[in-house]
Amino acid sequence: MSLIFDFLQPRREFDLNLKGDFDKGITGIFGSSGAGKTSFFNIIAGIEKPKSGYVALNDRVLTDSARKIHVPIHKRGIGIVFQENLLFPHLTIRDNLLYGYKYSREKRVKLDEITDLLDLSGILDSKPYQISGGEAQRTAIGRAILTSPDLLLLDEPFNAVDYKLRANILDYIKRLNGVLDIPVLVISHDFSDLEKLTKNFYFINRGKRERFDRDICFQCC
């Protein structure tokens, strides 16, 4: 299970030019706001098409500009949790969680496991507007995992929740990582949050990967 990428995407202020490979386990994607973290996720997930370069997941080419390959979003098998959890307002929590379940070929996780793991059993019949920010965040995470993705992307999963709940979400992500055997990339602009999750970091500054240095990071971010 690994993700390999090398791409170039021009942006208004600077070029996003990233290269790397990630194995299973959690990697913290870290950088100041506007550094290109979300665009990085969009390119991996197929939401944005890079100008040039490639993305491959488990030896399956997802994007390759030279060969004009661009696998559409829904065929990538990548779970993504957005900053604004984006639950479907007209569906119950249960239907939100099961939304992508029928599309996954390998059903490696079951609804019961996820609701237990993420403490969602009590709210399955509620609508998104009836639940708290932390519950919504966990539902969004559970919904992505229930598609049995080969890669999980979490974009600022601590943003929507207040400080007290952060430790809670961190704990859930750690628990999930013990169950899933896939690469998990977590975006955050808060280094202390990431530090609690993992020892692997990928530091993005103005569209480029930079050598990770704790002291520099604390100054710039």
């Binding site: 939401i47 979003i73 829904h74 990548i78 479907f88 307002p89 998104p128 507007y129 992505a144």
Partner: protein
Amino acid sequence: MSESVLVTVLISIKIGILATVFNIPIAVIISYFMGRYNFKGKQIIDGIINLPLVLPPVTTGYILILIFGKYGIIGSLLFNLTGIRIAFTQTAAVISSMVVSFPLIVRSIRISIEMIDQKLEVASMTLGANKIETFIRITTPLILPGLISGFILGFARSMGEFGATITFAGNIEGETRTIPLSVYSLLQVPGRENSAALLVVISVLISFLAMFGSSVINKKLSSWRVKQ
């Protein structure tokens, strides 16, 4: 109720429902493209769609004759190939209603399409749904209030349609004579005011029920749109 009044009411409802049912899918597709994509000439298309709102309906009816009449661009072709005549039939009444009510339906659907957070559709695709499945499972339920109010508005406009219908479909009893045409005809005949009054009451009732129904449904639907 006299038989002719009943026939008139039924014809009106039939034409109104047919016109709206045929209009909705076209309006959804047009609204989707107009709401989502920018292309050259978008404003011109927007103008053409909305034209029947500002054109006098009689003019719209005349334009329809020029297109679908026996000697019209499409009408002559159809008549020569199949022998089918459109003008001055019930089909013509349905077409008149469709054209006149179309901009109202597009407006209410387009507003609700533009209100949808497009990221919800992206989220749906990252969960494995393709574009069509996303449209069915996410977009359609989210624009449902717009669809319903579009349906009601379109239906109500069709029920009230007069000018285009009388020009393009004529005023044929039992065929194209809808409530407004019938009220007009009855008022031309001395002593038939009672039948006209009855039709007016029925038409007020139908319109009121339609508006009331749509506001009830909208209220129910809006419960989950809170905090969307």
